[in-house]
């Protein structure tokens, strides 16, 4: 009997090993929400930072000259705009003083480089090169000039793990301008998002801007998210299903900003 079992195992060892590895994989797959999973990712992040930094620096150096030319042109345009802006700020402050408004809180911006993106097109987390030593905290907001990128979900000494807007578990309270309608926004594949349950009595059209509503302890108001590109009535007939395009091209970003209060 024992010999039979031994012979069977020996003859089918390849299949048995495969089944065992499949079971282990299943077990790991079921443990995805465990905190140890993020900890191992972050441990790796700190380990690779010293190797990856020179590669990123070299890449940046190559693109710097091209970027410099573009920035010089933008600088001239911005200088013209700044003159107008300074006047507007002064006017705004004067009016705020008159109306007794408190000064809006300022945000500190910390630049960070993306160390690692996901393998597949459905990227939903990135690793950045700023961590505890740079005063990065959990729930800090990550932005680029085009709009919101995501939020920090785990911090290690030198690196942080960022959950992107393009994560299926990422929900954000959004406001549609100019109608001021508010709803919960979530990712809808590729560079698209969806907002449901907005009453169809409100006027919303393609091209309307979507920004953060500010109804959250995490996200400050008026950070750009995207634009509406499809307005549909939901089957219940009372609400809209709004589809839109995210402003940020997640496949192209290589540097981000950490927004700190």
């Amino acid at each position: 009997m024992l010999k039979k079992i031994f012979d069977y195992t020996f003859d089918n060892h390849f299949s048995i090993i495969t089944i065992a590895l499949v079971i282990i994989s299943f077990f790991i797959l079921l443990q995805n929400n465990h905190s140890a999973v993020n900890n191992i990712r972050l441990f790796w992040g700190d380990a690779i930072i010293s190797i990856k930094q020179p590669i990123i620096s070299y890449k940046n150096l190559i693109s710097a000259s091209k970027e410099n030319q573009i920035l010089r042109k933008k600088l001239v345009k911005l200088n013209i705009k700044t003159t107008n802006y300074v006047n507007l700020v002064e006017e705004n402050n004067r009016l705020r003083e008159i109306l007794n408004f408190k000064k809006r809180s300022d945000y500190e911006l910390i630049p960070a480089t993306i160390l690692s993106k996901g393998l597949n097109k459905n990227v939903n987390t990135i690793l950045i090169d700023k961590g505890e030593i740079n005063n990065v905290k959990k729930n800090d907001i990550i932005v680029v000039p085009d709009g919101i990128v995501g939020k920090v979900i785990a911090v290690n000494i030198k690196t942080s793990l960022v959950q992107l807007v393009t994560d299926m578990n990422f929900y954000i309270s959004a406001k549609i301008l100019p109608s001021d309608a508010k709803g919960i926004l979530c990712w809808w594949g590729g560079n698209e998002f969806i907002i449901k349950d907005i009453p169809n009595s409100i006027s919303i059209k393609n091209g309307d801007l979507v920004v953060t509503s500010g109804f959250s302890d995490i996200y400050p108001p008026m950070i750009a998210i995207g634009v509406i590109k499809e307005v549909k009535n939901s089957p219940n007939g009372f609400t809209y299903i709004l589809k839109g395009k995210l402003n940020v091209d997640f496949y192209k970003i290589s540097e981000v900003l950490i927004l700190k209060k």
């Binding site: 390849f14 090993i17 590895l21 994989s25 790991i28 995805n32 993106k117 996901g118 393998l119």
Partner: protein, 161 residues
Amino acid sequence: MKKNILTLLIFVGVLLIQIFFNEYIEILGVKPDLILIALLISALYVSPVFLIFLGFVFGLMQDWLMLTPLIGLSPLLKTIFVFTAVKSVQKFKVFPNIVLLSVELLLLFLYFVFYNSISLLRIGLSFSNVILNYSIPEFLYSGILFIAFYYLVFYYKKNRE
């Protein structure tokens, strides 16, 4: 033994390329799965048991290090697909063989279909969207690389003989 160590070193090299140069090999956001390509090519000459362990270990490392959405999905699918690839190599022994090449390409395509379906259908995307926007582009990129390496290995073996 020497062959296994060499294969292991190749896999470590491929993983390092996938980690450190991932952004440089992407085309329009599509990245090839170099580990999967290496596994399917290795099915032609590496011992099955060693290869199945490589599939599991490197699939798991890929999930840990590449920030993939579901940790454990790559080793699961890679183990199953390596098993199928090894069985098809054993069936169509002659290499290069157009039937074998087709079977391996089909496995490559099915891998992306399963991987993307499991990752993306749960958020409510339609199956056709997953196939057209995710699986087919990834398959085309990885498939071209696979065919190139398949014949590269063939010519290397032929020259050595």
